[in-house]
Symmetry: C2
Subunit: 742 residues, 2 copies
């Protein structure tokens, strides 16, 4: 691939990107798309639409960029929570470090690489991209100290920036925790309650906590098993009772529809919009009578236990309860909206084996995925393509086509394959048995991350069959040399990868292609005119790995092939604008982990740094520059020590809550007399209801939001049913894009 091909690729991508952004700036002004592009806003504010036709609606404008950039961090924090801020901090960190890297490498290393060998340079445009990489520098050159210095600068500034970020995020997390009374701070999830023949689980729990934690125990709430058959039975029963009610009740058009299932059968869901309060009063009573008899047998060995103070809850969750660590397992409960109800009744004894099984499954998947990737790799080599598909020979001989094929097609196909990964990893994470949506997403993010790094970076670098991959893993000593040989060779591919996959994914993200198309189909083909909104939550498990992968490519290629850095900087700038816009307008955050993703981001960045240092070590070794190679070893050690220090200094805060803060919050609440109010609301916060029941429970459920004083504004009225039903929605992210209301 020569310089011209790269420019072609860049040109195409810049064109496409600008086109998409322009399109977006037009589409977002169309009233029909407001559901697609302003989901979060609509949920927050009363929708104010004007269907008036103005010429302005069809003129592309950059105002949204300005708006996105003008928005302050505090605003994002209050609107979308800490997790979104942490994600944006990652992008800001990447922008900063790659600015430094770009300055150091483009001005320091690029000329060195270009003039590294005393060959006659061809015209700039037809120059092979190889001459811009470190492979063009002569062996035993005395100029390697510049590369070495550049890597030192990058590593040290990365560490400094990482430390600053970690510190400020830890601070933000502490502020976030102490901000508003959170029911999860008072609640402990108890699992694996031992079975007793004489008494029900509920009685066991009461007895246990009244005996051992009498002074702090408030109340508890059992978790009920909702098996498939039971669900159907209850559903049928309830449907009948509802129907009986509906017959007698007038329809209230003012209410916003809360029912999913009618979306596809094209009946206006408004028919089901009832006087919620009337209905609830009635249905609650009958429910109560009915359930008391049947619920006891469906109780499972898990419960939410509420405590009088935050400190008591954290104590119970931290301390080993029983001398058999497999019973009375206590964990701090997730936020009410974050609870993954259908996993709560899993027997605790299964979890360790589930964890091992899913780990093995994801590793196997990681390796089996190689087969399509190897095929994609084949596509990037023109000769092989011509051999396999001889009828294409004529077309491929045209320069423009061959440039597109080599520069563009491979990564597009790879990208399409990669789309299947997040849903599968999400499925694995679900099977693992996490108790909260956020934990599931975090676990999926972790899996997708390692999958992406392995399959995009390592497989492309080491390009070969499954067996040769396994060979490489099984002889770790050869890895630096192997990487040192391969990475500069593959730098071109990575540059195009940034151009295509990176930029294109951002365009598709801002365009929200699938929801947009679905929205159009819904309105003009299926004639569904539901006002109901389905606002997706931010897909951290797909987006965080993407950004981190770009960082990895940046770090590893920085001193080897600095040409990647300008494209990467553009990518991160686009990221900055696009994700800010999306977080402000499209996604809502239903639950908060309080920035728990940051340690993953930190560790991956350290991994990327160390990897780039090891590759540099290998390259300097190959280029016979022992002094530079020698200088890499202390850098690796220092980076690892820095990581260990950060782990010691900050990581515990992200794992548990500190007694000091909790006690101070408890004391404050007690002095101000708010404690009783909090206690009263605790029991209402965690409501386990079968999915069909929830449609009518928003009045009830909204009480759980009252606790989120600051977050109240951004929790939409009906998001509780999303929590119950997005089990499938969330775990098929691309599907979610296709069928956002399903």
């Amino acid at each position: 691939m020569n310089f011209l091909a790269l420019l072609t690729s860049a040109g195409i991508n810049i064109g496409l990107c600008s086109l998409f952004l322009m399109l977006y700036s037009i589409l977002r002004k169309q009233p029909g798309n407001v559901n697609v592009y302003f989901g979060r806003r609509i949920a927050e504010e009363a929708s104010r639409r004007s269907n008036s036709f103005t010429f302005e609606r069809f003129v592309p404008s950059p105002s949204w960029i300005v708006k996105a950039l003008q928005c302050k961090e505090e605003e994002i924090l209050s609107v979308s929570g800490l997790d979104a801020v942490v994600f944006l901090r990652l992008i800001v960190f990447s922008m900063r470090i790659f600015c430094i890297a770009a300055v150091a490498c483009v001005f320091g290393i690029l000329p060195l690489n270009y003039f590294g060998q005393e060959t006659k340079h061809k015209s700039f445009s037809s120059e092979s991209l190889e001459v811009f990489t470190i492979s063009n520098v002569q062996e035993e050159s005395s100029w390697f100290w510049v590369h070495c210095l550049a890597l030192y600068i990058i590593s040290i500034s990365a560490c400094v920036l990482l430390y600053v970020e970690y510190k400020s995020i830890a601070r933000m997390r502490l502020v976030h925790i102490s901000q508003s009374p959170n029911p999860s701070h008072f609640t402990v999830l108890v699992r694996s309650i031992p079975k007793s023949p004489e008494e029900s689980y509920s009685d066991s729990v009461r007895k246990f906590f009244q005996k051992y934690h009498a002074s702090s125990y408030l109340s508890h709430q059992m978790i009920y098993k909702t098996g498939k058959v039971q669900k159907i039975m209850t559903n049928a029963e309830k449907a009948y009772r509802k129907f009986m009610h509906l017959k007698n009740i007038a329809i209230d058009q003012k209410c916003i529809s809360g029912i999913h299932r009618c979306g596809l059968c094209a009946t206006s869901s408004n028919t089901f919009q009832l006087h919620r309060n009337d209905f609830e009063l009635n249905s609650k009573k009958t429910d109560l009578d009915h359930s008391n008899s049947s619920k006891i047998e469906k109780e499972c060995s898990a419960a939410f236990v509420f405590f009088k103070t935050r400190f008591a809850a954290v104590v119970v969750s931290d301390v080993l309860q029983s001398s058999n660590p497999m019973v009375w397992v206590t964990d701090l409960a997730p936020e009410p909206h974050d609870v993954y109800w259908s996993n709560l009744w899993l027997p605790y004894r299964q979890l360790w084996i589930r964890r091992i099984a899913t780990l093995l499954a994801s590793i196997v998947f990681m390796f089996l995925f190689l087969i399509p990737v190897t095929f994609v790799q084949g596509l990037s080599q023109l000769d092989q393509l011509q051999q396999r598909l001889p009828f294409l020979r004529g077309i491929l001989k045209k320069t423009f086509v061959s440039q597109i094929v080599t520069g563009y097609l491979p990564s597009v196909i790879l990208q399409l394959f990669l789309y299947s990964v997040p849903p599968i990893m999400m499925l694995f994470s679900t099977l693992e048995g996490p108790i909260s949506h956020s934990e599931r997403k975090k676990s999926a993010a972790f899996k997708v991350l390692y999958f992406t790094i392995w399959n995009v970076f390592f497989v492309n670098v080491l390009s070969g069959s499954v067996i040769s991959q396994l060979n490489v893993i099984s002889s770790p000593k050869g890895i630096p040399t192997q990487l040192a040989k391969a990475v500069p060779r593959q730098a071109t591919f990575f540059t195009t990868y940034v151009l295509t996959s990176g930029w294109a994914s951002l365009s598709s993200e801002i365009m929200q292609l699938f929801p947009l198309v679905w929205n159009l189909l819904k309105r003009y083909i299926f004639q569904i005119n539901s006002d109901r909104l389905s606002i997706p939550s931010f897909p951290y498990h797909t987006e965080v790995p993407k950004v981190l992968l770009m960082g990895l490519l940046g770090f590893t290629c920085a001193i080897l092939a600095p040409l990647i850095l300008p494209f990467l900087l553009v990518y991160f700038f686009l990221c900055h604008v696009v994700y800010r816009n999306q977080i402000l307008n499209v996604y809502c955050s239903k639950y908060e982990t309080g920035g728990r993703m940051w340690p993953i981001m930190h560790n991956t960045t350290i991994f990327s740094l160390v990897l780039s240092q090891i590759i540099a070590l290998g390259v300097f070794g190959l280029k016979k520059s022992p002094v530079s190679a020698g200088f890499m070893i202390p850098l690796v050690i220092l980076t690892l020590l820095f990581n260990e220090y950060c782990r010691q200094r900050f990581n515990p805060i992200f794992k548990s809550l500190s007694a000091m803060n909790l006690i101070e919050m408890d004391q404050e609440d007690e002095q101000s007399g708010r404690m009783e109010e909090i206690h009263r609301q605790l029991h209402m916060a965690y409501k386990q209801l079968p999915p069909d029941e929830i449609d009518f429970c928003s009045g009830e459920c909204s009480s759980s939001h009252e606790l989120h004083e600051n977050e109240g504004s951004r929790t939409i009225q009906l998001d509780n049913d999303k929590d119950q039903t997005d089990d499938d929605n969330d775990c098929h992210k691309p599907l979610e894009k296709i069928v956002p209301v399903a």
Copy 2:
């Protein structure tokens, strides 16, 4: 090496062993050696010696064996604590599993191996030992299923036995914890107290705990820095004051001497035996005035904090205290006798880097140790020895000499080298900064264990230079094949290793050679007639790795070279007798970890099992028996799953105390009114005193024993100063043997 050589070696060792055991049975009856062989007993009971000369004293007798075997587990538990019992359980477990293995392998596999190839067998005695190993079985033999079955039997019975042991030890641990009020359960060690310019550390601690744990906080006790210079200064000062006192005080001959330093200068230490009570009253007063002024500046950022209940203490130790995890670090305090005072004032911030540094140091040491081992390896090959030392050629040609050299000498030399390892590892562990003696010993045991396994097993198997070792590590895929090739070849060496190193180490253990010689020297040459006793504590860090190594050799060689098993069984039987005897008579246990060594033993056994399975996998592969090899894979997976289950089920109990038990104990003590008594004694339990002060503090210190109701009988009066001064004693175990009273 042929069968005759093995028998020669066995004969020599059996002879030596019997000789030593007979000698022991005579020596133990000599009144002069009572200090050496009955240290623990003397400390316990008032010594009742008779110097009367009887003929019986010089007749060897097996009565001690009977006594050792008759002693019940409960007795050992009450006399030497849970740690000793756990160690003996390991030996019992080894005996059981190798009985099963011996039956399965000697009757099942040995004949198969012997008749594995259709060669004409020579006379049994001159048969090479190779014919008893699996290498003698033909390739593609249809009899490998027997080996496979034998390994299944061994693995499954090992897992069952391990589970039973783990369960019973966990139960014993719980009983041990709940047995008697232990001051360490009420005490938390707080480190890294933040420095404040206005107030002293002591005030900070009081304020902190009064603010955040007011309901449970009882009192606290600062830890004072005792640097080298400060020590000398204080010593000089105190010596002067003592001297002034001594001039006026009459000497009380009844008191037992408590002074170390005079032992070597041959003055009778009785001169210093004073009216302790009188003196203490005086010196305490002056100390108090004097220290109040000077101690504040010597305060360091650590303190023992006492709580009203056990549960409160465990809560404070388990919960993260501050939002900065590097300050207010809390851990449950070690037992009073277990505290490693000189490490308590180490800045907490240093510890993580110390841990990394010592880990690296021990790894480097592990590899550098190879140099002498390689030399030893050379010795075992006769030809090399003759080449290097040509003058020996004449002697080495004699059959008997050559048999001794090949069968005996190499392991003796290796053994001598190995003697330097425990002290060095103990030094590393000390530098790591553990807060208790037991933790230090456990960490040293861990290091010695991995060192021993690597340097005795792997290095001998893979026999080669440092570089070839590193090569093996760096290509993990080849390890099974490499091991499969090498282990059967080295089985002979391992058999002689069991014979020499194993049996000899037991003889030397029971004879207590170094203390014996020192005792004789002291009495007849140096004319020291001190009555003072120095009773060593059990050297778990040297003995546990020895026994575990033998287990590893047994598991790995069992199906490959079953001839090792009878010798191993004899070794474990000897172990059983010898260690029981030693624990009952010689060693005292000053502190208890409550069986915390068991997880290490369990994990190592699992490691040995998996290693033997992997080696078998390699061997079956080499012997072209794919079915048998295939059957190994589920066995490996099942063993690992079993280990993971045990880790989930039992390990947390060995790491922390369960709330249920603690609360029950608290409630019991409160109801019985014992709590106040316990509170009163708490502050006295943890006394930090400079070493020279302690000589006079036995009256004071003994108060700390009052809490050990059951252990009271086995803590000797002056062991607190042993705790302070055995820093050097404990970390040089061989030295300890040479100079037990130094």
